[in-house]
């Protein structure tokens, strides 16, 4: 079949899944009364006055049967209109785009750490299994997985910020924030402070941003890494028991080559499949972490909207998160096919 065909097939399968996902979100919207649902269709705050509400309900047929409503709402979503957020006082889509870089900054740093460190620890654990390294790694990862993220976040703030003053909360310090927002020479190319700092030659901004990221990244890593370590360890153990390992040794390869070349690639396959779960875990994790650390990303947006029952925002965010998740699963599946030749020809 080849890799290309596999990718195309998976892309095609994406469509029904996405449609199904939007259906689910739509079903949830039906739990609300028409007045609340009106926020899904408007694009600025002026429209939402008591007089207009009735006409909006009329115009978008919010009292019509569900399937008609779905058609209208779906076509609107496809045009990028996710409704208006009461709490953010902007269109939902715009609110998400504005807040996305803050979350992206956290995720871009955390994900590689979790994956690379997790794989390394998993391999070490498997190769030295039942020895001290193994026991310590496994214990630490179970501990990490059991910690409530909000609790760990608070404890870290208490120790490292309140106590030691090393790593502050938020995205940037006051000074840096003012500079980034108001200084005319600073161009926000990517809205990622670390990158922008480098691109503008203002390294102190990058350093400041990094300092603020240490705690949230630590929280997310500590909690998620158990997943990768565990799966990598068990799949390595499985791989090391396979016949091709003995065969490789019989050819005269060193232990290191056998582990790194033969076992690891096979063990990576189930691990990659599980990194989809890691993405979900991170999307879940940023909601709470951003709330505790006061980082104005999409997670904080979601938490605030849910609390204020701002349904357009909550559902817009959920749909957004769903799409990110589905796409990342697609990428994971493609990587899986790349790694495991047996899949492509199935």
């Amino acid at each position: 079949m080849g890799l290309r065909t596999y990718i195309i097939r998976r892309l095609i399968l994406l469509v029904p899944t996405l449609i199904g996902a939007t259906l689910l979100i739509f079903a949830v919207t039906q739990l609300f009364d028409p007045v609340a649902r009106a926020t899904l269709y408007i694009t600025n705050v002026q429209q939402f006055t008591p007089e207009n509400v009735a006409s909006i309900i009329e115009k978008y047929g919010l009292n019509d049967p569900a399937y008609l409503q779905f058609g209208r709402w779906f076509s609107q979503v496809l045009q990028g209109n996710l409704g208006f957020s009461r709490t953010a006082r902007q269109p939902v889509f715009q609110a998400l785009i504005d807040r996305f870089p803050a979350t992206a900054e956290i995720v871009i740093i955390t994900a590689p750490i979790i994956i690379l460190l997790g794989i390394w620890l998993g391999v070490k654990s498997a190769v030295h299994h039942d020895k001290l390294v193994d026991h310590v790694t496994r214990t630490l990862s179970i501990v990490g997985w059991s910690l409530p993220s909000f609790w760990l976040s608070i404890i870290l703030i208490s120790i490292f910020y309140v106590g030691l003053g090393l790593f502050p909360t938020g995205r940037l310090s006051q000074v840096a924030q003012t500079f980034v927002l108001t200084d005319p020479s600073f161009i926000r190319y990517t809205k990622l402070n670390i990158v922008d700092g480098i691109l503008n030659g203002q390294l102190w901004i990058s350093v400041d941003a990094l300092r603020h990221l240490v705690l949230p990244v630590t929280v997310l890593t500590t909690i998620q890494i158990a997943l990768i370590v565990r799966i990598m360890r068990s799949s390595m153990l499985e791989a090391l028991n396979k016949g091709y390992i003995v065969a490789a040794r019989a050819k005269g390869l060193t232990s290191k080559e056998v582990v790194n070349k033969h076992a690891r690639k096979n063990a990576l396959i189930p691990t990659i499949t599980l990194s989809g779960l890691m993405v979900a875990g991170m999307l879940n994790g940023v909601v709470i972490t951003e709330t505790v650390y006061g980082i104005n990303g999409i997670g904080l947006f979601a938490a605030n909207s849910a609390l204020s029952l701002d349904i357009a925002a909550v559902l817009g965010f959920t749909l957004f998160a769903g799409i990110i998740f589905v796409v990342s699963n697609l990428i994971v599946d493609i990587m899986y096919a790349y790694l495991d030749p047996r899949i492509r020809l199935g």
Partner: protein, 316 residues
């Protein structure tokens, strides 16, 4: 007649009981499982004794709407008080007694964990077994449906559901069930598909066994192990999710005995006072420790199960 059927059953179960005895013995010896079990038993005892250890004020019982899960408060003063004789764990914001909250919170934790996992299991297994065993259109439909739910990260979808249904602990539990059952469906379906093809299932069908008999006697006992592992790990995860949602303000109300909610009340106080940054440590450290150890217990047990119940990895 009856006695011989029973003896037949016992004989048939012979090798299986031997396996179970072997597994039980390994469970008893594994340090992971001992630790996990001890923790869970400790908490179970706490939960059972909570009414004794933290008795609600007897005068309240007179009120018809009495609910012991509402934490008593002596005043409305916002600043938390440190641990003292009256309040062994101190009080949190609004003078809610932490000791009371944590003790009754144990009951809440068990309630949330066991109900949610139990309900998810029942729904998930029922659908999964039917889908896996009968295949065809039913299977396709079910799988598309679970795929749709899987398109969303769990906590986020649960959040959306709670926002739609209204913030309360019961709605949190409902939302977690709705988001959680597909996981078990996928798991059991995969196992059922695998076991369905085994020779002993064919043999049983060829001997004329009804579908129900085949499912109960052959498919479930061989397909159930990953589910047991998942369920024990899940209990901890569910409690964490529920605590997280309560922390965000979407779950239990402000005076309810729920660990997550207690930590939410501590957020304003993590900076301590000007002189002592850790002045209010008890407000967040204590409830957090209780959640952490509780979840740790279930995770240890689940991990022990995973090491022991995986038939391919045993007898190493």
């Amino acid at each position: 007649m009856k006695s011989s059927r029973w003896q037949e059953f016992k004989a048939g179960m012979g090798p299986r009981t031997k396996e179970w005895k072997f597994m039980l013995s390994r469970l008893r010896k594994s340090p992971l499982s001992i630790a996990g079990m001890s923790i869970i038993i400790f908490y179970a005892v706490l939960a059972l004794l909570a009414p004794l250890l933290a008795p609600p004020n007897p005068s309240w019982a007179l009120y018809p709407s009495f609910d012991p899960f509402h934490i008593p408060r002596e005043s409305m003063a916002p600043v938390p008080a440190s641990p003292s004789a009256n309040h062994p764990f101190g009080t949190t914001e609004g003078q809610y007694d932490l000791y009371y909250g944590i003790m009754w919170g144990t009951i809440t934790a068990f309630r949330v964990g066991l109900w949610v996992v139990g309900a998810s299991l029942i729904i998930g297994l029922a659908i999964g077994i039917v889908a896996g065993y009968y295949g065809g259109v039913i299977d396709e439909l079910m799988m598309r449906f679970t795929d749709v739910i899987f398109a969303f990260p769990g906590l986020i979808l649960a959040m959306a559901l709670v926002a739609a249904l209204g913030a309360s602990l019961d709605n949190v539990m409902l939302a977690l069930v709705l988001v959680g059952w597909p996981g078990y469906t996928r798991l059991i379906r995969g196992e059922v598909l695998r076991v369905k093809q085994e020779d002993y299932v064919e043999a049983s069908k060829a001997a004329g066994a009804s579908d129900l008999r085949v499912i109960l006697r052959h498919i479930i006992p061989n397909a159930i192990y990953p589910v047991v592992i998942a369920a024990s790990l899940d209990t901890g995860a569910i409690v964490l999710s529920a605590a997280g949602l309560s922390f965000l303000g979407l779950g239990a109300g402000p005076d309810y005995a729920d660990w997550g909610q207690l930590i939410a009340r501590s957020q304003n106080w993590i900076f301590g006072t000007r002189t002592d940054p850790f002045a209010h440590w008890h407000t967040f450290v204590l409830p957090g420790v209780f959640i952490f150890i509780f979840v740790l217990g279930w995770n240890l047990l689940g991990d022990a199960f995973r090491d022991i119940l995986d038939p391919t990895l045993r007898r190493r």
